[in-house]
């Protein structure tokens, strides 16, 4: 293996070295709970027939997503994908608007024009994904090019699944970013599968992160169940990019604890894998870390945070449900841009 294998973060001191104080540690915990909670609620709403279309979750990838999202700077930009709810949460996305998105309401980020996690709050520097994978990787590179052209100390982050790395867009993005040493970090959520297709049928053996050298930058592999290790590596990569050090390819070895989407029972997954993964639940792992290292956590903070999150989500679902469905008369609106929008404040 050419890529660097990142070590675990085992102590608060190590987390501190990566810039996290105790409040951060608890905030990360909260983000993890909100992330999972949103998808669990969504799942229930879907089963109740309230969410149109299909439904995907990132269960098992919460730590990977929150870890990177938390490492990004305020003015950084990212293109998260289908397992990256945690990025939206860590960046401050309002949960009620995510439910409104799921439900196809006007207050969803896509205003009912798109569903699922095909959404983003652009004011938080996030870009709404399209289905076609990994079509947003070249977009992130373009954002990084804008930063480079303007000499801004900003970084773009592009996510891709393991499966999506097989597509040409991914290659074109990494190559271009490598040639120009642009401030962009490429993250792979490698959860072992692309739908039913295992890694072995997606790419030749070895780690995807090894491909980074071919693109002129460093590859790093990190355990996606270790939110603090993910955070540390993401932060390193982002700050390196910010300082002109060029791109990094960060492969997060993560879990897909459920099927590809709700309709998929993942019968094709090797026997025992789901059970093994359940034991490696990233949120449980982090909870154990906090229980060990944060005084009072197991005794009261944990319960208090859980309660708070529960209330937040109740309220979010309620508020989302008040949001109206879009008026069919508006179907044509927004295909083209009103020139006035161009100078709106969110468009920097």
């Amino acid at each position: 293996m050419v890529a660097r294998e990142a070590a675990a973060v085992a102590t608060p001191a190590e987390a501190r070295a990566a810039g996290l104080d105790q409040e951060d540690l608890l905030l990360i915990y909260r983000h993890l709970l909100v992330t999972r909670g949103i998808e669990e609620r969504g799942h229930i709403l879907y089963r109740q027939g309230k969410i149109p279309g299909s439904f995907y979750t990132g269960r098992g990838n919460e730590a990977g997503a929150v870890g990177v999202g938390f490492a990004m700077g305020l003015d950084d930009v990212g293109c998260p994908i289908q397992r990256d709810m945690g990025v939206h949460i860590a960046r401050g996305t309002e949960p009620w608007r995510i439910f409104a998105q799921y439900l196809g309401r006007v207050d969803g980020f896509a205003r009912g024009r798109d569903g699922n996690v095909h959404m983003a709050d652009f004011r938080l520097g996030l870009v709404a994904m399209v289905s076609h994978l990994p079509a947003m990787a070249p977009v992130a590179v373009g954002a990084a090019l804008a930063f480079r052209l303007r000499n801004q100390p900003r970084v773009a982050v592009a996510w891709s699944g393991d499966g999506a790395t097989s597509r040409g867009d991914w290659h074109e993005a990494l190559n271009f970013a490598g040639v120009r040493q642009l401030p962009v970090v490429f993250v792979i959520d490698n959860n072992g599968f692309a739908y039913s297709t295992p890694n072995a049928l997606e790419f030749p053996s070895g780690r995807l992160a090894d491909r980074a050298t071919g693109y002129g930058f460093e590859g790093v592999v990190v355990d996606g169940t270790d939110v603090l290790a993910v955070h540390r590596e993401a932060r390193r990569a982002i700050e390196k990019a910010r300082e002109g050090g060029g791109p990094t390819l960060l492969e997060i070895v993560t879990l897909r604890m459920e099927g590809h989407a709700v309709h998929d029972d993942a019968f094709y997954v090797p026997k025992g894998l789901h059970e093994a993964w359940a034991k490696r639940d990233p949120i449980e792992r982090y909870r154990a870390f906090l229980a060990e290292h944060v005084p009072g956590f197991a005794e009261e903070r944990d319960d208090a945070i859980r309660l708070e999150v529960k209330q937040l989500l109740n309220e979010a679902v309620r508020r989302a449900d008040e949001s109206p469905l879009p008026d069919p008369a508006t179907v044509l609106d927004g295909v083209y841009v009103d020139p006035a929008e161009l100078d709106a404040p969110h468009h920097k």
Partner: protein, 325 residues
């Protein structure tokens, strides 16, 4: 004849061709162990093995490019796009290499790309499209859009045996909803022959795919309501398309409505209208109307999607306009 769903008819046709001709193989994302996102190839891998039912990487150009190369060497590949929408990732390969190779270099490319297309279930902008019109402009490709189980099987088998690259659009919303009798065994339908789905005399609706059923329902309601007699012509194939059938129906009815699920501007409906406006000008008693989706991406939320996909009422309104002209 057995009653089969539209989806089963597709499966049957493919399975039978694979049994008949060992050059036929299937390639696509999750077509193997999983049996395809819609289960069209369920059980195929156990029957034909992991190479003839080949799970590819997530890479549409690699998939369709493999079809070009393998068919050039005499195989008969059948690719599956997981959703028709993703064929955009193989657009360059299809229009640049596959469509032009025979004209330029004389190599036949007998392959098929299966494209689960169409909306109606909140699939949103990337799981609901009907990209046949884009390809209809590209010389060298053939385009098939069946609307019934019988046609689905007959046209798929024909497509596999056709020596050209064929895009086979199968409408997802018909998969399990539409059932019908399907001839067993060897069964093909020639390309370029429209089918009178419903005979009529007051006006002609030309359509294809899922809209055949929308047109039929509208026609039934019009007949019931005030006796308006609507002919519904199912093109079945877009390239080639049956100009003769359209022109001769219009010669009888003198009124034409073109209906498609894809967006309106520069959709294939424009070609039909333009052809009739050129070749049957003297026969027309009314403007040629088009009913199609508005020029937007396919919206996700049900009220928007309903406003987007042509509905029976939209067709009825157009029927009324024509009937009263």
């Amino acid at each position: 004849m057995a009653v089969r769903t539209y989806l089963q008819a597709i499966s049957d046709g493919l399975r039978e061709e694979m049994r008949r001709d060992e050059r036929v193989f299937v390639i696509g994302e999750d077509v193997g162990v999983y049996g395809g996102a819609f289960k069209v190839t369920q059980g195929f891998q156990s029957e034909f093995g992991p190479w003839r039912v080949l799970d590819s990487p997530l890479a549409e150009t690699a998939i369709v490019g493999a079809c070009t190369g393998a068919s050039m060497m005499g195989m008969r590949p059948v690719a599956e796009m997981q959703f028709a929408d993703f064929v955009s990732c193989a657009w360059d390969h299809l229009v640049t290499v596959a469509a032009k190779q025979h004209y330029r270099a004389g190599s036949p490319l007998p392959f098929v790309v299966r494209l689960p297309s169409g909306g109606g279930f909140s699939g949103g902008p990337f799981h609901s499209q009907n990209p046949e019109s884009s390809f209809a402009h590209i010389p060298g490709l053939k385009i098939v859009c069946p609307s019934t189980p019988e046609d689905a099987k007959g046209l798929l088998v024909e497509a596999i045996r056709d020596p050209n690259p064929v895009l086979y659009f199968e409408h997802k919303h018909l998969y399990r909803r539409i059932k019908g009798e399907v001839p067993e065994g060897d069964w093909t339908i020639p390309f370029g022959e429209a089918r009178v789905h419903r005979a009529g005399s007051d006006l002609t609706i030309v359509t294809w795919g899922a809209m055949v059923h929308t047109a039929d329902e509208a026609a039934a309601r019009a007949a019931e309501r005030d006796g308006t007699s609507v002919e519904v012509l199912d093109l079945r194939t877009i390239t080639p398309w049956d100009r003769t059938a359209v022109l001769s129906s219009v010669a009888r009815t003198a009124k034409l409505l073109v209906l498609h699920e894809d967006t309106r501007t520069a959709g294939f409906g424009a070609e039909i209208a333009a052809t009739v406006a050129e070749e049957a000008f003297e026969l027309l008693d009314a403007p040629i109307l088009r009913v199609a989706a508005p020029d937007t991406p396919v919206p996700f939320s049900p009220p928007l999607e309903k406003a987007f996909i042509p509905q029976v009422d939209d067709v009825l309104r157009a029927i009324d306009r024509l009937a009263s002209y």
